[in-house]
C-alpha cells in the first residue's frame, strides 16, 4: 500500500503570465494545491479562470506563448518544470495522463482511433501487436463504446462528440497512470455513460492509487465523486476544502453564488398546449453514413438517423436528450441542410429545406441558427472574433453599425469583455469560445435556434445567465429552440417537450413533466436513474444572493 498522504501532485505558488496584458496579468496567479493518491480533487470555477492552463502546465504542454513565471509543480516529489524535455515526455502518457477538454480537435484526423489508443502501448510498453489490439478493444469496451471492432477502425471525423471524448478517456486510462488530469471529461456524455465513466475513474483511483484532478462545471458530478474541491476564479483559488465543506458549507461568496446557480430538480409542470403555428416539421428523416472501404477493407455503414419525425411550434423549446452517438447532432445538421439527408421532408416556416439548393437556402438561413457542439472547430482560427461575430448580421443586410451594437450587447450578456473582438479564437478557454459561439448565433436574430450542447462547457452561473437569455428571447420574440443536452436538469428547466433518442431512433417523446415524472421507455428510465449527485441536497443560498450579485456583477 503506498503512502496516501504524500501528494502525488503538489502545486506551489504557480503563476503563469499571459502574453499580452488582456483582462488580467496572469492566467493563474500564485496557485497552491495538492492532489493525493487515491483522491479525486475536483476543480470548479469560472470559465476562463485558468483551470486548463494549470493542467497543461503540469503536463508540460503549455502553448509557447504562455510562460510559467513562478512557483513549482511537484510530481512525485520532482519539480516537473525543471525536468529535461525527454524525462517529462517519458512520464507523460505513462505515469501522468490527461483528458483534454476539446475532444473534437484533440484526435489526429489522419489515423484511426484504434491506432491512436494503441500508440500509448507502443510508446511506453513493448507489447505484441495482437495484445495491443486486444487491450485497446478492452479499453473501448470499458468506456462503453458500442461495437468496438468498428470503432477501432474509425477515423475521428466519423465519431460523435461523446464518442471522441471516450476515445480520449480510453487513451489516458490505458496505462493506469498515477496522476490523471481530466479536463471536463464527461461534458459530452449522456448520463448513463457518464455514470459508467465516473465508476471507471473511481476504480482507477482506488485500485491503482491514482490521484485524479477532475475539472468540471457540473456540481452534481462534483457531489458524486469529489473527495476534495478547489474553487477557482480569475486565476486564483478562492476556496478549497473537502467536498462536504465546499458543497454544503461554502464560505466564499463566489462559491455560494455558484451553488446557488446549480439547476434544481425540475418541478415544472407541463405547460398547457398552446396552439401556435408549427415552425418546424420533420417527417421520416433518414441518414446513413457509409464509410468508404479502403483498398482492402470493406465499407461499413451506420444508420445515424432512422425515420425521425417531429414538429415544433412557435415559441416552444424542444429538448433532445439521449445516448451519446445516437444521432442528435446528425439530426440537427440534416435539419439545417448542413448535411444532406438520405430521405424525408423538412419544413421550416413554410420553406421546404430538404429540396432546396444550397443557393436558394442561403436567404432562409437567417431564420435558423445553430450553436455547434464543438466550439473549437467552429471558429476560424485565422480571423478575429469580431469579424466572425458580425459576419452573419452583415450577410443578412444589417448595417455595420447596428451589427456592432448587437455584438457588444450580446458579448455583455454572455459576459465576455468587449475587447474580445480583437482576439483570435486560440486565445480563449473552452467556455469562452462556447459563449462566443452563442453570441454569434444570436447576432442575426434567428427565429429558430438550435443549441447542440451549447452550455455544457459553461460554469453554472454563466449557464444560468445564458439559459435565461434564451428563455427571454423565446418569450419575447417567439424564438423556437431545439436544445440538445445531456444535463437532464437543464433540460427539465428549459424545455417544453423532450425527445429521447437511442441508436438513431426516437424512443420516447412527450412534455417534460411526463418524461421526467412518468418515463415510459426503459432507456429513459435508465437515464433518469443514472443522474449523478442525486444524494446531494443543494443548500439554499438565497440569503446570500445580494452578496452574490455584488461579486458577480462587479
Amino acid at each position: 500500500m503506498t503512502d496516501t498522504t504524500t501528494p502525488i501532485l503538489s502545486i506551489r505558488n504557480l503563476t503563469v503570465a499571459l502574453p499580452v496584458r488582456i483582462e488580467r496579468d496572469n492566467a493563474v496567479d500564485n496557485l497552491t494545491f495538492d492532489v493525493r493518491p487515491r483522491e479525486i480533487l475536483c476543480v470548479v470555477g469560472e470559465s476562463g479562470s485558468g483551470k486548463s492552463i494549470t493542467s497543461l502546465a503540469t503536463m508540460g504542454l503549455l502553448s509557447p506563448s504562455l510562460k510559467v513565471t513562478g512557483g513549482e509543480i511537484l510530481f512525485d516529489g520532482r519539480n516537473v518544470l525543471e525536468l529535461e524535455p525527454g524525462e517529462h515526455n517519458a512520464l507523460r502518457g505513462d505515469r501522468m495522463a490527461m483528458i483534454f477538454q476539446e475532444p473534437m480537435t484533440a484526435l489526429n484526423p489522419a489515423y484511426t482511433v484504434g491506432h491512436q489508443i494503441e500508440e500509448v502501448f507502443r510508446v511506453h510498453r513493448s507489447l505484441g501487436a495482437a495484445e495491443r489490439r486486444q487491450r485497446t478493444l478492452k479499453l473501448l469496451e470499458e468506456v462503453r463504446l458500442p461495437d468496438p471492432e468498428r470503432l477501432f477502425e474509425s477515423y475521428p471525423h466519423q465519431l460523435s462528440g461523446g464518442q471522441r471524448q471516450r476515445i480520449m478517456i480510453a487513451m489516458s486510462l490505458a496505462l493506469d497512470p498515477k496522476l490523471l488530469i481530466a479536463d471536463e471529461p464527461t461534458t459530452a456524455l449522456d448520463v448513463t455513460t457518464q455514470a459508467q465513466i465516473l465508476r471507471l475513474l473511481k476504480q482507477l483511483n482506488s485500485k491503482h492509487d491514482a490521484g485524479i484532478m477532475f475539472i468540471t462545471h457540473d456540481f452534481s458530478v462534483v457531489a458524486e465523486i469529489a473527495d476534495r474541491v478547489v474553487v477557482m476564479r480569475q486565476g486564483q483559488i478562492v476556496e478549497q476544502g473537502t467536498a462536504d465543506e465546499v458543497l454544503n458549507h461554502p464560505r466564499h461568496p463566489y462559491t455560494r453564488s455558484l451553488i446557488d446557480a446549480v439547476p434544481r430538480p425540475a418541478e415544472s409542470p407541463d405547460k398547457a398546449a398552446v396552439e401556435n403555428p408549427v415552425v418546424i416539421q420533420v417527417d421520416h428523416l433518414q441518414k446513413t453514413f457509409h464509410s468508404a472501404g479502403g483498398m482492402f477493407s470493406k465499407g461499413r455503414s451506420v444508420a445515424a438517423v432512422r425515420d425521425v419525425s417531429f414538429k415544433v411550434r412557435r415559441g416552444e423549446t424542444l429538448g433532445i436528450v439521449g445516448e451519446s452517438g445516437s444521432g442528435k447532432t446528425t439530426l440537427v445538421r440534416c435539419l439545417m441542410r448542413l448535411m444532406d439527408p438520405d430521405s424525408g421532408s423538412i419544413n421550416i416556416s413554410g420553406v421546404d429545406f430538404a429540396s432546396k439548393t444550397a443557393g436558394e437556402l442561403r436567404a432562409h438561413r437567417k431564420d435558423i441558427q445553430i450553436v455547434f457542439q464543438d466550439p473549437y472547430g467552429s471558429l476560424n482560427p485565422r480571423r478575429t472574433i469580431g469579424s466572425q461575430l458580425i459576419q452573419g448580421a452583415v450577410n443578412f443586410g444589417v448595417s455595420r453599425k447596428e451589427a456592432w451594437r448587437r455584438v457588444y450587447e450580446l458579448l455583455e450578456i454572455v459576459r465576455m469583455p468587449k475587447y474580445s473582438v480583437h482576439r483570435y479564437p486560440s486565445q480563449f478557454s473552452g467556455g469562452q469560445r462556447q459563449r462566443l459561439c452563442i453570441a454569434r448565433a444570436l447576432v442575426v436574430n434567428p427565429k429558430v435556434l438550435i443549441a447542440d450542447e451549447a452550455v455544457s462547457a459553461l460554469d453554472v452561473s454563466i449557464q444560468r445567465e445564458v439559459l435565461k437569455l434564451i428563455n427571454d428571447i423565446r418569450d419575447r420574440l417567439g424564438l423556437t429552440v431545439i436544445f440538445i443536452t445531456h444535463d437532464l436538469r437543464v433540460a427539465a428547466q428549459v424545455c417544453d417537450e423532450v425527445l429521447v433518442m437511442k441508436h438513431g431512433e426516437v424512443v420516447e417523446r412527450g412534455g417534460v413533466g411526463q418524461i421526467f415524472k412518468a418515463p415510459q421507455h426503459d432507456y429513459t428510465r435508465a437515464l433518469l436513474a443514472a443522474q449523478p449527485g442525486q444524494d446531494w441536497v443543494i443548500p439554499d443560498m438565497a440569503e446570500f444572493s445580494e452578496q452574490m450579485d455584488e461579486v458577480v456583477g462587479q
Binding site: 497543461l56 503536463m59 504542454l61 515526455n89 517519458a90 512520464l91 507523460r92 502518457g93 505513462d94 495522463a97 490527461m98 483534454f100 476539446e102 480537435t105 484533440a106 484526435l107 489526429n108 484526423p109 489522419a110 489515423y111 491512436q116 500508440e119 500509448v120 510508446v123 511506453h124 477515423y155 471525423h157 480520449m168 487513451m171 489516458s172 468508404a292 479502403g294 473549437y376 486560440s426
Partner: protein, 305 residues
C-alpha cells in the same frame, strides 16, 4: 472507386484530345516541317516538293484528322525527320528519363522533407535559416548553372564523375542531383509551411501528452497532415521532370524524352510532338490520380469523387 476511376478516364481522354489538337495547330504555326527536313539551304522548290510528298500542304484539320484516325488505330505515326516510327523512338528514350526523374525525385524528397520538417520546429532559428538559404539557392540558381558547376568540380577538376552520357549509374549522379535540387525549394518550403500550421494543432498536443518521441511526433503525427499539398506538388514536379528536364538532359547529354521533345519542336516534327504530348498528359493524369489517392489515404477526411 470504380465510378471515380471511370470519371478520371473520361477526363484523360478529353485531355488527350484537346492537348493533341492544340499541339497540332501550335506546332504547325511555329515551324515548317519541310524546312526542318530540307535543311537550311533548301530552295523554295525543294520545300514544295517535300510538302507535297509528305502531305504537309493539306489543310491542317485534314492532317489532324488523318493523324487522329491513325492514332485511334494505335498508330501514332512516323517521324519523317527521324525516319522512324514514333513509338519506337519514345520507348527507346523513356527509360533514361524515367530513371533520371525517379532518382531526382528520391533525392529531392530525401533532402527537402526532413529539411522542411526540421526548419519548422524552430522557425527563424539558425537551422531554419540554413534550410531557407538552401532553398533560395535552388530558386535563384538556374538548373543549368547548378549542373555546370557540378560538372566543373566533379567532372573536370576532380574527375570523379563522368561528364555526360547515360551508360552507368555514375552517369546519373550529377543529373539526378541537379534535377532534384531544382524541385527541392518548393517541396521543402511547402513542407515547412504545412508543418508550422499543423504543429499548433490540438492533436499534436495530444500526441505529446501520450509521450510519443519527438521523431514520431514530427514525422508520424504532424507530417502526415502537413504533407498533403506537398504530395500534389511533388506529383506535378515529377511530371515536370519527365517532360521538362530539357536543360538537364541537354547538359548531360542524356537521350531522354525532354531532349527529344525540345528537338522535335524545333524541327516541327509533328507526329513526334503529338506522341510526346500524349505520353506527357498520360503521365500527368496518372500522377495527379496517384496524388489524389495518396492524399485521400493520408487524410481520410478528403473524399475522392
Amino acid at each position: 472507386m470504380l465510378a471515380f476511376l471511370s470519371k478520371r478516364i473520361a477526363v484523360a481522354i478529353l485531355v488527350a484530345l484537346t492537348v493533341s489538337m492544340i499541339t497540332f495547330s501550335m506546332n504547325y504555326l511555329t515551324g515548317d516541317p519541310a524546312i526542318a527536313m530540307a535543311g537550311e539551304n533548301a530552295t523554295e522548290a525543294d520545300l514544295d516538293a517535300i510538302r507535297e510528298f509528305y502531305g504537309y500542304d493539306r489543310p491542317i484539320p485534314v492532317q489532324y484528322f488523318s493523324w487522329l484516325t491513325n492514332a485511334l488505330h494505335g498508330d501514332l505515326g512516323h517521324s519523317h525527320y527521324l525516319n522512324q516510327p514514333v513509338t519506337d523512338e519514345i520507348m527507346a528514350r523513356l527509360p533514361a528519363t524515367m530513371t533520371l526523374g525517379l532518382f531526382a525525385l528520391i533525392f529531392a524528397l530525401a533532402l527537402s522533407i526532413p529539411l522542411g520538417v526540421l526548419a519548422a520546429i524552430r522557425p527563424n532559428s539558425l537551422l531554419d535559416r540554413i534550410a531557407l538559404t538552401t532553398a533560395v539557392v535552388g530558386q535563384a540558381m538556374p538548373s543549368f548553372w547548378f549542373a555546370l558547376t557540378m560538372m566543373l568540380w566533379f567532372g573536370i577538376n576532380w574527375q570523379i564523375l563522368p561528364v555526360s552520357g547515360a551508360d552507368t549509374w555514375a552517369h546519373f549522379v550529377m543529373p539526378s542531383i541537379a534535377l532534384g535540387y531544382y524541385i527541392t525549394p518548393g517541396v521543402m518550403r511547402l513542407t515547412r509551411a504545412g508543418m508550422l500550421d499543423v504543429l499548433r494543432s490540438d492533436y499534436i498536443r495530444t500526441a505529446r501528452a501520450k509521450g510519443v518521441s519527438k521523431f514520431s511526433l514530427l514525422f508520424k503525427h504532424a507530417l502526415r497532415n502537413a504533407i498533403i499539398p506537398v504530395v500534389s506538388l511533388a506529383a506535378v514536379q515529377f511530371g515536370f521532370m519527365l517532360g521538362g528536364s530539357i536543360v538537364i538532359e541537354t547538359i548531360f547529354s542524356i537521350n531522354g524524352l525532354g531532349y527529344l521533345a525540345w528537338e522535335s519542336i524545333q524541327r516541327a516534327d509533328l507526329p513526334m510532338m503529338q506522341a510526346i504530348v500524349l505520353v506527357l498528359s498520360f503521365f500527368y493524369i496518372a500522377l495527379t490520380f496517384l496524388a489524389d489517392v495518396l492524399n485521400a489515404w493520408l487524410d481520410p477526411r478528403i473524399r475522392m469523387g
